[in-house]
Amino acid sequence: MDVAGDPQSKAYGLAAEFDSASQLYHAAEKIRDAGYKKFDVFSPFPIHGMDDAMGLKRSLLGKLIFIGGLTGFLTAVGLTFIPSSIIYPLIVMGKPTNLYTVPAFFPIMFELTILLSAFTAVFGMLIMNGLPRLHHPMFNWERFKRVSDDKFFCVIETRDPKFAERDVKDFLESLGGQNITRVHGD
C-alpha cells in the first residue's frame, strides 16, 4: 500500500481514488451502510444527492443565515429610528418622526437584512467548513491534486471507531477504489 506524508506521524486515514461520480456515489452509499462515520468523499464539483448517499443531514447554514438576517433587520430598525425619532428628530418637509415614518425606512431595513445575511452565508460557510486553513493531511498525497480536476476520492479516517486498517483497505478495494493510500500528516 502506498503511503503519503510523513510515515512517522499519525495516520489521517485510508484514501482511495475513483474514476467517476457514479462510482463515488455508490461507494459513499456502501461506506454509509457499513457504519463508518468519519469519512468524506471528494469531487471536483458538488454531486447531486451525495448528502443522502453519505447519510448527512441538511446543512444548518440556512438557520444561521436567518439569524444573521434578523440581526441586520434589527440593526436597521435601531439605526433609523433611534436617531430619526428619538435622539435627533429631523423634520423634513413636515413628515412625521414617529412610527408612521416607517415606510421611508424600508429600503435601509431591506438592504441591511440582505447585507448581514450575505455575510453570514459566506463567513458561516467558511467557518463550518473549517476554512481558511493552511494545510491538510490530504494535501500530502500527490494524486489528490487531481480532485480539483477530474478525479474522485474518498477517505475513511483513522479516528472512526470502526477503523481497522486491513478491513478498511479490503473494503475500499471491494468498492472499486484504486491507488489506495495511507495518508499521514506532516
Binding site: 467517476s20 461520480a21 457514479s22 463515488l24 456515489y25 459513499a28 468524506d40 471528494f42 469531487s43 471536483p44 464539483f45 458538488p46 454531486i47 444527492g49 451525495m50 448528502d51 448517499a53 453519505m54 448527512l56 441538511r58 446543512s59 447554514l61 440556512g62 439605526l79 436617531p83 430619526s84 435627533y88 429631523l90 413628515k95 415614518t101 429600503p107 435601509i108 431591506f110 438592504e111 441591511l112 440582505i114 447585507l115 445575511s117 450575505a118 455575510f119 452565508a121 459566506v122 458561516g124 460557510m125 467558511l126 463550518m128 467548513n129 476554512l131 481558511p132 486553513r133 493552511l134 494545510h135 491538510h136 490530504m138 491534486k145 487531481r146 480532485v147 480539483s148 480536476d149 477530474d150
Partner: protein, 469 residues
C-alpha cells in the same frame, strides 16, 4: 431521467429526440479538458493581443485618474453641471454603469434560482463585469458630493457637527443599496471562485502562483462535507441577490421618482429602470464575451451559439418592456392632463435634446427588434453590432431623463442647457478604460469560466450516469 442530456441522438427514435435536451457543452468535452483549457488561459504566457488591449486601456485609466485629481484639487465646477442642470453626465454615467452591472447578478442569481443550467459558462465573466461596472459607477456620486474629503458624511457615524443622516432621503437609500450591492456581489463572486482557485492552486508550478492561488483558495479540498455547506451558502446567496438586484435599480430610480419634478415623478420608474438595466447589461455581457470567445476559440464549446441566442432573446424581451415603458410615459403625460408633465415630454421629443430622445428610441426600442430573426441572434458579428445599440441607447436614456428634465425648470427664466466640459468627456471615456483594464486583468489572472459548475452540468456528472432504468 439520468440521460436527459445525451451527446448522440442518432440511435434514438424521433419521439426521444424531441424530448432530448441539447448538450450544454459541445464536442463531448470531458472534465479534464474543461479544467485544462480554462486554466491554460490563465497559465499560458501573456499573449501579445492582451498587451495591445491592456496598455491603451491602462492609459485611459490614467486619464481618468488625472481628471479625478484635477476635479478634486480644483472643484466640482470643472464639470459642466450648473443651474439648472445640477445632475448631468455624472449621474447619467452613474446610472448607466450601475445598470450594466445588473445583468451579471441576473445571470448569477436569478438564472440559478430558476435552474437555467446554461448560465454556468457565462456567470463568472458576467459577475466580474458587475463588479467592475459598479466600481466605475461609484466614482461619480463619490465625486459629485463636491468636497470629496467629506464623503464620509454619507455614512451614519455620530460626529461632532451634530449632523445625522436623513434616512428618509432616497439619496441615502442609494448609499445603502449600492454599497450593499457591491459587497454582496463581491462575496457571491468570490464564493463561486473558491473551488476554481483550488484548481489553479493544484496546477500551479511556481512558488509565487502556489502562494497566490493557495492563499485565495483558502485551503478548499472539495470534500462533500464542505460542498454541502458550500451549496447551501451559494443557494442562499442567490436567493438574497435576487431581490437585492431588483431593489438596487428600484432605489436608483427612487432618486428621481420621489421628487416632484415633471418627467421624474412617476410610479413606473422602478420596473422600467430594472428592465432597462437588464437590457443594457446583457448587451454589455455580449459585447465583452463575444470577443473573448473569438480570441479563445475552443470556448465556443462552452459558450455556445445557443447561449448567445438566449441572451439575445432576453435583450429583445427587456427591450420591449423598455419600449412599453417609454410609450406608457408618453400616454400618461397626455392622459394626466397635467400641463407641466405634458410640456416635459413634448420638450423631450421636440426640444433642443430631440436628437438624444430619438437616438434613445431608435437604439432601445427599434434596433433590438431585429433579434426576432434567428439569423441575427446566431451570427456573432451581427449580434455584436446590434448590441452596441442598447449600449448607446441606455446611456441616452439616462441622459434624456436627467438633462432634458432639469434643463426646463418651472419658470422660463430658469431654463438652461447642459454643455459637457472636456473633464466630463474624458472622465466618461476614462471609466471605459478602467472597466476594460479590470476586465483584462480578470481574464489574465482568474478563470473566466466557472469550471466546477460547467463540470457539474456534464452528463457524466450525474451520479446515475450510464445506469439503466
Amino acid at each position: 431521467m439520468a440521460d436527459a442530456t445525451v451527446h448522440t441522438t442518432e440511435n434514438l427514435t424521433p419521439d426521444q429526440q424531441a424530448v432530448t435536451r441539447p448538450p450544454l457543452v459541445l464536442n463531448q468535452r470531458k472534465m479534464g479538458w474543461i479544467a485544462n483549457y480554462v486554466s491554460s488561459i490563465v497559465e499560458d504566457k501573456t499573449p501579445i493581443w492582451w498587451w495591445a488591449c491592456f496598455l491603451p486601456c491602462l492609459a485611459l485609466t490614467g486619464v481618468l485618474g488625472f481628471c479625478i485629481v484635477y476635479l478634486v484639487s480644483t472643484g466640482v465646477g470643472v464639470w459642466g453641471n450648473n443651474h439648472p442642470v445640477g445632475w448631468a453626465w455624472d449621474i447619467t454615467n452613474f446610472v448607466f454603469w450601475i445598470g450594466i452591472g445588473h445583468a451579471g447578478t441576473l445571470i448569477s442569481a436569478i438564472l440559478f434560482l430558476t435552474r437555467q443550467k446554461w448560465r454556468t459558462s457565462i456567470n463568472r465573466a458576467a459577475e466580474a463585469m458587475t463588479l467592475f461596472a459598479v466600481i466605475c459607477a461609484a466614482i461619480y456620486p463619490g465625486l459629485h458630493v463636491g468636497r470629496v474629503w467629506m464623503a464620509w458624511f454619507l455614512a451614519p457615524v455620530p460626529n461632532a457637527n451634530a449632523i445625522w443622516q436623513n434616512f428618509r432621503s432616497p439619496l441615502l437609500w442609494d448609499v445603502f443599496a449600492v454599497s450593499t450591492y457591491f459587497t454582496v456581489s463581491v462575496l457571491f463572486w468570490y464564493t463561486g471562485l473558491i473551488p476554481d482557485l483550488a484548481t489553479l492552486r493544484d496546477r500551479a508550478t511556481t512558488k509565487i502562483k502556489k502562494f497566490f492561488y493557495g492563499t485565495l483558495a483558502l485551503g478548499w479540498r472539495g470534500g462533500n462535507r464542505q460542498w454541502r455547506h458550500y451549496e447551501m451558502a451559494y443557494l442562499l446567496l442567490a436567493g438574497l441577490s435576487t431581490p437585492l438586484v431588483l431593489s438596487v435599480h428600484s432605489v436608483v430610480s427612487f432618486d428621481f421618482a420621489t421628487s416632484v419634478i415633471p418627467g421624474w415623478h412617476t410610479t413606473i420608474f422602478p420596473p422600467y429602470f430594472v428592465a432597462g438595466a437588464i437590457f443594457g447589461g446583457f448587451a454589455m455581457v455580449l459585447t465583452i464575451m463575444i470577443p473573448a470567445c473569438a480570441i479563445y476559440k475552443p470556448l465556443h464549446d462552452l459558450v455556445t451559439i445557443s447561449h448567445v441566442d438566449k441572451m439575445c432573446k432576453v435583450i429583445v424581451f427587456t427591450g420591449s418592456i423598455v419600449g412599453y415603458a417609454y410609450i406608457m410615459e408618453l400616454f400618461m403625460a397626455w392622459y394626466s392632463a397635467n400641463p407641466y408633465e405634458r410640456a416635459a415630454f413634448w420638450y423631450r421629443a421636440f426640444g433642443p435634446y430631440w436628437w438624444a430622445y430619438w437616438s434613445m428610441m431608435f437604439c432601445n426600442v427599434i434596433a433590438p427588434q431585429i433579434f426576432w430573426f434567428k439569423y441575427f441572434r446566431t451570427h456573432l458579428v451581427w449580434v455584436w453590432i446590434i448590441c452596441q445599440f442598447p449600449n448607446a441607447g441606455m446611456w441616452y436614456e439616462r441622459f434624456v431623463i436627467i438633462a432634458t428634465t432639469l434643463s426646463r425648470d418651472f419658470i422660463p427664466s430658469a431654463w438652461g442647457q447642459f454643455h459637457p466640459t472636456w473633464v466630463d468627456i474624458w472622465m466618461f471615456i476614462g471609466t471605459f478604460g478602467l472597466f476594460f483594464t479590470l476586465f483584462l486583468l480578470f481574464i489574465r489572472f482568474l478563470p473566466m469560466i466557472c469550471m466546477f459548475e460547467v463540470k457539474a452540468v456534464l452528463p457524466e456528472a450525474d451520479p446515475h450516469h450510464g445506469e439503466k432504468h
